[in-house]
Symmetry: C2
Subunit: 417 residues, 2 copies
């Protein structure tokens, strides 16, 4: 535990709050929060769940586990309630998996900034593998094969492959053919796939084909998810994991339950009431998910357009609420402003009034000119503005959204004037 | 992570639920839950906190940290809000401390069953040291000195000393003179003291003198606490830690915040609303704490009387809601029933209809004839019965409490007929 730092996105969030409190005007695109109001039916469930003050089963009540199992069943992944564990967020579940399953961890590069520190906390080596041209969240297959071989030569023991579907930070979704190819490699190499599907219900176009590794490699895929992103409940800390059917899955699940019993006991019971309702997906929840995905998509596509206009190349976003531009095409021009790498680029964006998360903080190459923009911070400052954005057929036409996007565009256009 | 088991108390709890569902009549004294209704003002705070769906600061909001700081200040431990971290229970805080602070961990023997597994998860060796005759929760000072020397000879590196005040499982409180002696040893030996004070507000007699190691060795004591026990909120998962003032304390705290940011993000924001109110201790909370401690004391003392009548020796309980009898005085008689050690004793109690937690599951010697009884399970099956017990000037006179205690007494008296 040398060089301990706070998770860089949370640290950045606190920094922005401080600078704003000091009067600075900043557009904050550095934090992956869905800035939308809490949904009233879920608030009601939380209040109703307040009578539940007893410790319940570590993995979650039978009812909440059945609801989560149903959620997966409706997504072409037949699941029994005994394959489910709920927890205070998906982070503790990912951490427990790392403590239970031996060996080192393969991550996409770039990836969500928590995977690598968690691997280290669990005594593992993170092995970062470049993503393909077409999408993020998964390693390029050829690079993956090479990295496994190279890691073994170096005495590493890769055993876990983390995939993020759709991806944080690129806002893209790996297509089915690529998933099949990666699952085949994982099975050949004896890797456990951990499929982080927390953004699954934030695929922008409902017609997009989503293939989970749990459909392709069911015996060797653990899926983690949560309500922080799809239902804007980051502050409520609700996560869930689905373990494979069969002895290996049961072994991993019982290990995770063991860690849970020692480290967090269980998901708070009133939050289990919320999770039971949300994962049960009555029509009001389904409509909320659709409306949220529509809004996230519209604003992410607009920010993508801005990054291209500013000279970047950038994968078009199709899920989550991120874009991940690469300013390599204008490296020479940026050099005039002493912008030569990821930290100097992020600092220049800050000077231009735009907070972004530098690519190297996501494990990307430090010399690359890339950063993550969370576009979900552009729906308004107040609950009323955010609700308007959620309800609007064309949120980009709303004055307050337009105004925030104009500030983003101005900032980006001044990057390479 | 070989030999992974669920935390034995939680596992036992699930077993009892299954056997009861199958129709068996059992009195469950094996689970350390305060079986009381949730307090209405706290349910209101949870409902009001439902509007808070955003991620807040990792350590907790300034308001909740100020409330926890005030709680310690009123207990003779002056504290700033920047010394506080809240979390989903005290377990994750204890786990994070183990990940942050290097070296091995010294525990009392017996001790709460989560300390040792957490130490192992963090790659540490737990070093168990016998408790004194007078009370549990702390090592005997002479045995502590010997154990430190012996551990170092064996290549261990003891750096953390866990104290439980009052104690789980013995229900006793280490007196001030003993705390001073242990603090002196800890400071001489360079140990960090982790003082688990989750039962502090469950000292039965308000006149009992409570000395926290944070008063004696302020630079080297971390205090952890929570609302699960004092306010019967186990199912809500609310914990807090207080770190020492000064550079070492700040280093440990920032490490814990770093781990928190990667493993659980923060305590759920609606639960922070609850914690802010509860740690602020308005008069209704203070009265609730007093009433709860009174009830816990009355019932624990009655179960203590029963254990003595049944032939055990047993430290008189003065805090928490446990008694920890030792049936060594009737070992010969118990031998006739093939009861020869901790597992066979607990099994015989189960056959007599009483669920207890065997001493060896708490790190005690396997051959000892000891177990833990959680007496807080005797207040009634329904919320109404439990509320009656809480409100009664003499809870032992209530028919439903009397009836449960009679079943306990019958079971114990049949142990050595």
């Amino acid at each position: 535990m040398n060089d301990m730092r706070m998770s860089p996105n949370l640290a950045l969030n606190q920094l922005v709050a401080q600078r704003r409190a000091a009067g600075e005007s900043l557009v904050h695109l550095g934090f992956g929060e869905s800035r939308l109001p809490p949904f009233a039916p879920l608030m009601e469930r939380l209040a109703a769940g307040a009578t539940r003050n007893a410790y319940g089963p570590v993995a979650g009540s039978p009812e909440v586990r059945a609801a989560v199992a149903g959620y997966f069943g409706r997504r072409n992944i037949p699941t029994g309630a005994d394959q489910i564990v709920v927890a205070p967020g998906s982070k503790p579940l990912l951490m427990a998996l790392g403590l239970v399953v031996p060996g080192d961890v393969i991550l996409p590069r770039p990836a969500w900034n928590t995977y690598a520190p968690q691997a280290r906390l669990a005594g593992k080596h993170p092995i970062a593998v470049a993503i393909p041209e077409e999408c993020g969240g998964v390693p390029d297959p050829a690079a993956l094969r090479e990295s496994i071989t190279a890691a073994r030569v170096l005495g590493r023991d890769p055993r876990i492959l983390i995939l993020t579907l759709p991806d944080n930070p690129t806002g893209t979704l790996a297509p089915p053919a690529l998933i099949r190819e990666l699952c085949a490699i994982a099975e050949e190499e004896g890797l456990l796939i951990v499929s982080d599907e927390i953004y699954r219900d934030v695929v922008h176009d409902p017609a997009t084909e989503f293939l989970s590794p749990a459909e392709v490699a069911p015996a060797s895929t653990v899926v983690v998810t949560g309500l922080s992103k799809s239902l804007a409940l980051g502050g409520w800390r609700i996560g869930a994991a689905r373990f494979p059917h069969g002895p290996w899955g049961e072994w991993i699940r019982s290990g995770v339950v063991s860690v849970a019993s020692e480290v967090w006991s269980t998901l708070a019971a009133p939050m289990q009431s919320v999770a039971e309702y949300a994962f049960g997906e009555p029509e009001d929840i389904r409509e909320r998910l659709r409306a949220s995905a529509r809004l996230h998509g519209a604003v992410a596509r607009e920010v993508h357009r801005i990054t291209i206009a500013a000279g970047a190349r950038c994968r078009p976003p199709t899920g989550a609420f991120y874009v991940y531009p690469d300013f390599e095409p204008v490296r020479a021009e940026l050099g005039k402003y002493e912008v030569t790498d990821s930290p100097t680029l992020a600092r220049r964006m800050l000077d231009l009034g735009i907070v972004v998360l530098a690519g190297h903080l996501l494990g990307d190459e430090g010399e690359a000119l890339r950063f993550k923009c969370a576009t979900s911070m552009l729906y308004g400052e107040t609950v009323e503005e955010q609700q308007l954005a959620l309800d609007a057929p064309d949120p980009l036409a709303l004055a307050h959204v337009r105004s925030l996007l104009e500030r983003v565009e101005e900032g980006f256009m001044r990057l390479v004037p």
